[in-house]
């Protein structure tokens, strides 16, 4: 067995040292009636590397690969070009096979990287501080709602209708058990965001307002007035960013006054991966830092006065505070945070601004072209790299038919909102730098065909 270095000679010698005659002597604490004697049957035995590879390749071959077809899907997961050096660097064993940096003297690589990540994320989101990552955007969003409850001592959260429905779903699941009340409705197919409605709904019980930017339908709305109204009522504004590349072109939520900004970092460095692992971004104003969930890395000095980094403020965390912790989170998404950080470093200010510009320009190009398809209209007035089309037919069936023509042409609102009939003609289309003018043309032509 190629991963097991002991041979039978070693095992015998070690059993002798231990004072056991057979290996089963070491398992005597398992009740005999439950102890298994041979391999669990009905399961395959060990296999050579080549056989495993063959099996896995067969399964991989049954999927339609995004990069091999015109691709326009988004809605919380985006396909961007990831520079080759990102994947090379995260596969260095010293990063890949390290643990959470509990022994900082021999984990400065991970810790310095996390400190740099926290700084990059805080600057991108426009907030004072950021943590060392969460599982993903949806769980970061829920953690932010919980944090607002702890800070305001109120338990009613207003969720924008433009918040990703899966993020709403996660919050609903949790709120059922924590006693938080969530106010939420499905979006309407209009060009306007629901910011004015949210402002009207804020009252003295509101713990937070949660708004996505750009929202699930791709719309972009100014959060300044919402932040003021929220804070005037003693509540917190939580902004959710599912496409961080957008912040290369758009004002940041922090700049517009958001108290907590969370996001999904998958766009940078991580790749689609059928939904995971991704990387949750979590930032907030300095004054709330002690209520933050998750790991934090901080600067300090060593015994010789040299600068170094450690995990810090761990008195918020489960391994110290147990049932009084701010969150139960332990493992986060360190390696994805590394990929995010490397990609950000490669881009830099200049690269991220250019990348955002290209995304927006390609999306505008696609929106203009798709609007010419008979019966199709573009719902949005404002958008970054994602907008919503209104089709003359049920979009879910159209997406399937497009896929049969080897085009992954967006995410239907029917998939995301199965109960909302009035949204069924909506199709969310995302266009990144990976789409070519030819891809857009192929998409438009195929859409026209399947709608005909």
């Amino acid at each position: 067995m190629r991963y097991l270095p002991l041979n039978s000679h070693d095992r015998q010698a070690m059993l002798a040292t231990v004072g056991a005659s057979t290996i089963d002597d070491l398992f005597i604490d398992i009740p005999e009636e439950a102890r298994l004697t041979g391999p669990i049957h009905d399961l395959p035995m060990h296999a050579p590397e080549m056989m495993v590879e063959r099996h896995m390749k067969k399964l991989a071959g049954q999927n339609l690969v995004a990069g091999e077809v015109p691709f326009f899907m988004g809605a919380g997961a985006y396909r961007h070009h990831v520079p080759a050096s990102v994947d090379h660097l995260i596969q260095r064993g010293e990063f890949l096979t390290a643990y959470t940096p509990y022994q900082p003297e021999i984990a400065q690589g991970t810790l310095q990287m996390l400190f740099e990540f926290q700084t990059q994320v805080a600057r991108l989101l426009g907030v004072d501080v950021a943590n060392a990552s969460m599982y993903d955007g949806s769980t970061a969003c829920w953690e932010a709602i919980g944090m607002a409850r702890r800070i305001t001592k109120r338990a009613t959260a207003l969720l924008s209708s433009g918040l990703h429905p899966h993020y709403v779903g996660v919050a609903k699941t949790m709120a059922r058990f924590t006693g938080d009340a969530l106010v939420h409705s499905a979006p309407s197919l209009t060009a306007e965001t629901d910011i004015d409605e949210l402002i009207a709904q804020i009252d003295k019980n509101t713990s937070c307002v949660v708004v996505q930017y750009p929202d699930i339908l791709g719309r972009v709305g100014d959060l300044t007035a919402l932040a003021k109204a929220t804070q005037a009522a003693g509540a917190l504004l939580i902004a959710v960013v599912t496409e961080p590349v957008a912040l290369g072109a758009l004002r940041s939520p922090g700049e517009m006054g958001a108290d907590i900004v969370v996001g999904e970092g998958q766009s940078l460095g991580v790749g689609l991966q059928f939904g995971g692992p991704y990387v949750g971004l979590f930032g907030c104003k300095q004054k709330y830092v002690r209520q933050m969930p998750g790991r934090l890395c901080g600067e300090t000095v060593d015994a010789e006065g040299k600068r170094g980094y450690v995990l810090t403020l761990s008195t918020r965390e489960q391994h110290i505070r147990r049932e009084k912790a701010t969150s139960n989170i332990c493992t986060n998404s360190g390696l994805c945070a590394l990929a995010f950080s490397i990609h950000m470093t490669l881009l830099g200010e200049k690269g991220l601004r250019s990348l955002a510009e290209i995304n927006h320009a390609m999306a505008v190009t696609a929106a203009d072209r798709l609007a010419k398809v008979p019966g199709v209209s573009v719902m949005n007035e404002s958008f970054f790299n994602e907008f919503t089309l209104v089709l003359p037919k049920d979009a879910r069936a159209i997406v399937r038919e497009l896929a049969d023509r080897q085009i992954l042409g967006g995410v239907s609102l029917g998939r995301l909102y199965p109960d909302e009939d009035e949204l069924s003609h909506g199709l969310i289309v995302a266009v990144t730098e990976t789409a070519t003018v030819e891809d857009i043309e192929a998409f438009a032509a195929a859409l026209q065909e399947v709608l005909a």
Partner: protein
């Protein structure tokens, strides 16, 4: 000293090496200092070449960014060098034995990395039409089947993102099952030796947490637990093998009593590596258990994640499992059960825990690992993991206090305490001394039930020679701590950093980098 020094150069302090103590750069040959990206870059540099954007009229709704973000950029060469240099300041399994108890730092096979990167897995969108992702759903389904069979359970939830998230999943299922029968229970019992995530999870969902004491032999006090059961107890959370490295012999008795009293049994499966293929938790009455794919099934820890924490369920809890999940239809195709299909099909699901379907990238790695080992290999994994831990326990019990060693064998980890060290010496001195010897320390000061605990988990992927080296190193450090060797207090001496001031970091948190000029202006205010 019995340390095996073959092939290992004896380390010498820089002071003895010939008088040179400082260099002008701060570097020491291959040990290279590396500044922060913010200090070595500027906003005009970049490591990417992008095409020109077509000229279009902006539709950003008047929200164009005006202010600079303040992001540093580096060329590709500088980027590769920066992160390569940082990486060399990390200890890792690829460098040597990493005996963190309860963390299962085993070898991460590279085949798994290769498989996860196949475009058919790495480059597919989570919301693609179901008929275009049948292979991805097959991976989830096949891995789920393995987990069910290895644990003897009835169902599995694949979406939880890590161990603690899996605990949350299990506790939500328990609460849902109780609510479904109109049973309001408010208490979860957790043994003192539990991982901190257990009480944190139960409290997160609104349960009161009550501690269950341990016996002097390191196992749960059965009588105390049974005496506490009653109509207010929703369930118990038990780690098995427990964090003292011992198998909870009475688990079946406990499960029967908990069920009898109307509660459920949650098992923390963090230590499943010790018993995979040797016992099925389902046979011991467990109702829910998370499995850390990043421990037992070798997906890399990545410096703190990503993890993956699927949860297996008993018949009683399986109907409450979260959305979405994969189901095989009569015609052999795989369906993804989401909100819509769940309405008539899986009405008792407690809902969604994550945006998409869980950690697909970890599923592919774990499945490749499981297929490599097979049922026979996984059994051997547990046997070798337990043998290695017992070998360490028996090789060191003469020099380090092993509080439960008299009671019989340990499972996959050996537990020592700081009893018997010289006055003023503690576990931290041993840990930092081990760093100088070239090893990552064991888990320290956990579990809390043992004073100055040192929890050593070697895993099955260490050779006898590697174990002997480690035993020699730990013996040497322990002897120094018993003899009162003061140099241990200032260890590590040879790591990239000496002991770091954690109190300073917490008292005046510096969590992001600020420009020195701005820092000065702030101080002047």
């Amino acid at each position: 000293m019995s340390m095996n020094n073959q092939g290992r150069p004896t380390r010498q302090s820089v002071d003895d090496a010939g008088g040179v103590q400082q260099t002008s750069t701060g570097n020491r040959a291959l040990m290279l200092e590396e500044a922060l990206i913010f200090e070595i870059s500027d906003s005009t540099r970049t490591g990417v070449d992008l095409m020109d954007a077509p000229k279009v009229a902006s539709r950003l709704g008047g929200l164009e960014r005006k202010a600079a973000i303040g992001l540093p950029g580096l060329s590709e060469q500088e980027t590769v060098r920066h992160y390569t240099r940082l990486s060399r300041q990390n200890y890792a399994i690829d460098l040597g034995l990493f005996p963190l108890g309860s963390c299962t730092m085993k070898h991460n096979p590279r085949l798994n990395e290769k498989m996860a990167r196949l475009p058919g897995f790495a480059d597919i969108h989570p919301l693609q039409p179901i008929h275009t992702v049948q292979g991805a759903l097959a991976v989830i389904d096949e891995l789920g089947e393995w987990l069910i069979k290895l644990t003897g359970m009835a169902g599995v939830a694949m979406s939880p993102k890590a161990g603690a998230h899996g605990e949350l999943c299990g506790i939500l299922a328990i609460r849902s099952a109780l609510e479904a029968r109109g049973d309001k229970r408010s208490v979860i019992l957790v043994p003192e030796s539990a991982h901190g995530t257990n009480p944190a999870t139960a409290a997160f969902v609104g349960y009161q947490v009550e501690d269950i004491p341990a016996n002097p032999d390191g196992r749960i006090n059965l009588e105390a637990l049974i005496a506490r059961l009653g109509p207010d107890v929703a369930g118990v959370m038990i780690t098995n093998p427990n964090t003292c490295g011992l198998f909870e012999r009475d688990l079946k008795t406990i499960s029967d009593a908990v069920h009898e009293a109307g509660g459920f049994v949650y098992c923390d499966g963090a230590n499943f590596n010790a018993v995979v293929g040797k016992v099925r938790p389902g046979d011991l009455g467990v109702d829910a258990m998370h499995i850390n794919l990043h421990k037992t099934f070798s997906t890399p820890h990545g410096g703190g994640g990503p993890g993956s924490g699927p949860v297996v369920f008993s018949e009683a809890l399986a109907p409450f499992a979260p959305l979405p999940f994969v189901e095989r239809m009569d015609d052999g195709r795989l369906a993804l059960i989401e909100e819509e299909s769940a309405e008539d099909h899986h009405a008792s699901s407690f809902g969604r825990m994550v945006a998409f379907h869980g950690q697909m990238g970890m599923f592919t790695r774990a499945l490749a690992y499981i297929l490599s080992h097979g049922a026979d290999g996984l059994k051997q994994v547990a046997e070798d993991a337990v043998l290695n831990a017992n070998y360490i326990l028996r090789s060191l019990e003469d020099v380090l206090d092993a509080p439960f060693a008299g009671a019989g064998p340990c499972m996959h980890e050996a537990l020592f305490s700081d009893a018997g060290l010289a006055d003023g010496f503690s576990t931290i001195d041993i840990a930092k001394g081990l760093i100088d010897e070239g090893f990552h320390p064991m888990t320290v000061y956990f579990p809390l039930v043992v004073h100055g605990a040192m929890l050593v988990e070697p895993t099955e992927t260490e050779s006898k020679a590697a174990l002997d080296q480690f035993i020699g190193a730990l013996r040497s450090v322990a002897e120094r701590a018993k003899a009162g060797d003061a140099s241990l207090h200032s260890a590590p001496h040879f790591a990239p950093r000496r002991r770091l001031d954690e109190t300073l970091a917490a008292r005046k948190p510096v969590l992001v980098w600020t420009e020195p000029a701005a820092e000065q202006a702030e101080a002047a205010e």
